[in-house]
């Protein structure tokens, strides 16, 4: 059924259709509306046979999720930013133990400086934690990916993060096609766990493993993610059969046939990029877009195949590996090893900086002429940066950086008392 609603509410409804049995969460912007929505549904019993557990922190949220998932309950939680960092130790444990928890990450920047706006620093900081990470382009895809995520997680016994851009998607009202319960039931079978904590048949989960078997357990986790590379496109096809639309998969090329330049990105910025590429195509540029939906496992082979006929690629990412440049770009470069392609990294949209068609067009035009720097910070205010660098050269006691830049920008309340 088509409806116009907030992204968070669309996701809450989709999660409810997946019949979760335990939801535990701690509020943090911009994720909060999702679990609030689910909390209301549990309370008014539209979501039956589900326990909603209020916990005291994100660390507790993931710890409770581990416990409930280990008893065989379908388990869901959501978080963002500092919340994800605070639960980090338990996040690694959930995947290490092979527990198929599904978690929404409403992507948000990480402090300091504290910032509540969108970028991908939070989930990408957890890139090696053993969870799968799927990135949604629209609210429709966010909703659909949750339904696919439960099935994928439970089949391969690994947890899945569904990543959606905080505010840009979570707080946007747009059209979504909400599935029927019968469709979700047809797609998503009941959870049949490989391991269950059951007093009737006692086992222990979480043994200490020494050098004799630790590497093998880790390898098996890697092998399961590699196995997911095959399963993800199959699930997208099965999903299409029941729900009638394309959602998910590993990658999504757009106008890449005959493209000399392919710009690669994840999440909601793909929409703006598609509009940009349409305009540039009209002006005669041979350019396409490649969306990466599955960041973990990373689709090395599929990305290489999508890039095999282009001359250059640009990775536009909302994340920064301080000291090297891009995170997604490093992964893409791994995929195209020895293909002889020119590759550019563009860091954009950090901390909610708007990514505009105007800036993208200018940047991609430069890339097409191979005049782009290898690492570019889109729309960086060089004047502000250079002023601070100059200050630090001439003075020792320059004080805190964030406050200095806010003062230069004339932000009220940043006065030096």
């Amino acid at each position: 059924m088509l409806k116009q609603c907030e992204g968070s509410h669309a996701v809450a409804e989709a999660v409810a259709l997946c019949r979760p049995e335990v939801i535990c969460a701690y509020p943090i912007s911009p994720q909060t509306h999702i679990v609030e929505g689910l909390g209301e549904m549990v309370k008014d019993e539209t979501l039956a046979d589900c326990e909603f557990i209020n916990v005291e922190s994100e660390f507790a949220a993931m710890s409770v999720a581990i416990g409930s998932s280990a008893t065989g309950a379908r388990t869901y939680t959501a978080t963002a930013s500092q919340g994800l960092l605070f639960m980090a130790e338990a996040v690694f444990n959930a995947s290490g133990l092979g527990l198929p928890i599904v978690m929404t990450v409403a992507n948000r920047a990480i402090g300091a400086p504290i910032n509540i706006w969108n970028d991908h620093s939070d989930s990408l900081s957890m890139r090696d934690c053993g969870w799968l990470q799927l990135f949604a382009e629209t609210n429709q895809e966010a909703l659909d990916l949750h339904i696919q995520a439960f099935k994928l997680a439970e089949e391969i016994s690994l947890p899945v993060m569904v990543c959606m851009d905080g505010f840009i998607l979570t707080h946007a009202y747009e059209r979504v096609d909400m599935p029927m319960q019968a469709q979700v039931d047809a797609f998503l079978p009941a959870y049949e766990p490989r391991q269950v904590l059951d007093p009737a048949e006692p086992v222990s989960i979480g043994a200490m493993v020494g050098p004799e078997a630790f590497m093998e357990v880790r390898y098996l986790a890697h092998a399961r993610q590699v196995q997911a590379l095959e399963r993800i496109p199959q699930l997208a096809a099965e999903f299409k059969e029941i729900f009638g639309r394309d959602s998910g998969g590993l990658i999504r090329p757009y106008r890449c046939e005959d493209a000399d330049t392919i710009v690669i990105a994840m999440g909601s910025v793909l929409g703006t990029l598609k509009d940009t590429v349409d305009e540039m195509r009209e002006a005669g540029h041979k350019i396409g877009v490649l969306g990466i939906i599955s960041f973990r496992p990373f689709p090395l082979v599929a990305v290489a195949a999508a890039l095999k006929d282009c001359k250059r690629f640009v990775v536009l990412e909302k994340s920064l590996a301080v000291g090297i440049g891009g995170i997604v770009a490093t992964n893409v470069r791994m995929a195209v090893t020895s293909m002889g392609l020119k590759g550019y990294t563009v860091i954009a949209g950090l901390g909610g900086r708007a990514i505009t068609m105007k800036s993208l067009t200018a940047m991609l035009d430069k890339a097409g002429r191979d005049e782009l720097d290898l690492v570019t910070f889109l729309d960086l205010d060089w004047k502000a940066v250079n002023k601070q660098i100059e200050r630090e050269k001439t003075h020792r006691k320059t004080g805190p950086v964030a406050e200095a830049l806010l003062r230069d920008a004339g932000i009220v309340g940043a006065r030096n008392y």
């Binding site: 116009q4 907030e6 911009p30 509540i116 969108n118 505010f167 747009e174 929409g271 703006t272 068609m357």
Partner: protein
């Protein structure tokens, strides 16, 4: 694509207004995208929210920098924020005030705009009268339906009924309808 930017203050229902506008457009079978200029909103602080309406899927996610229409929920913002930034030359302006554009000191600005696309309506007064609270957002949507012709008053009423219920819904419907009629009459006066 038609792009609307709403300026107001925290607590005036700016974000809710764009959401309701998107629901009204959706009810007419169109694609619509509403989103706030995200921030840690505080009561009384300047707030901006956006709504795009189109006949095809809306993929663009940048803030609206060149709006086709502006709704200004609080005229005191005119001295604080560049509300008119990027407005298209043939754009619509609807301001919540009981003053005229000239009295607001906007005589120079409106010289270059189509007179029939500029309107004021005392939406806070209408809200106080019908709802009992100073919330200008919903009556302004009624006024916007009249000035732009982009959405029907019936769709605004449907959106009100989706967001509110009981007395609040009834009061807002009355306020939106009266604002619609006031703006219609103002426009007819311009044309006459």
């Amino acid at each position: 694509m038609f792009q609307v930017r709403i300026h107001g203050r925290g607590g005036q229902g700016v974000v809710t207004a764009t959401e309701m506008l998107s629901i009204a457009a959706f009810d007419e079978g169109r694609h619509a995208q509403a989103f706030p200029s995200f921030g840690s909103e505080r009561t009384g602080a300047p707030v901006v929210a956006f709504c795009r309406i189109d006949d095809k899927e809306i993929r663009l996610r940048e803030p609206i920098m060149a709006p086709d229409a502006l709704i200004i929920q609080d005229p005191t913002l005119l001295h604080q924020v560049d509300c008119f930034a990027g407005l298209k030359p043939d754009g619509y302006i609807l301001i919540n005030t009981n003053k005229s554009f000239e009295e607001l000191g906007l005589a120079d600005l409106i010289k270059h705009h189509h007179a029939e696309r500029l309107c004021t309506v005392a939406a806070t007064d209408l809200s106080l009268k019908h709802v009992g609270r100073p919330l200008p957002n919903v009556p302004l949507l009624g006024g916007f339906a009249a000035i732009s012709g982009l959405i029907r008053l019936e769709s605004v009423i449907k959106a009100i009924e989706e967001k509110f219920s009981g007395k609040i819904a009834a009061g807002n419907i009355a306020a939106a309808t009266e604002a619609y009629n006031i703006v219609k009459a103002e426009m007819e006066a311009v044309h006459a």
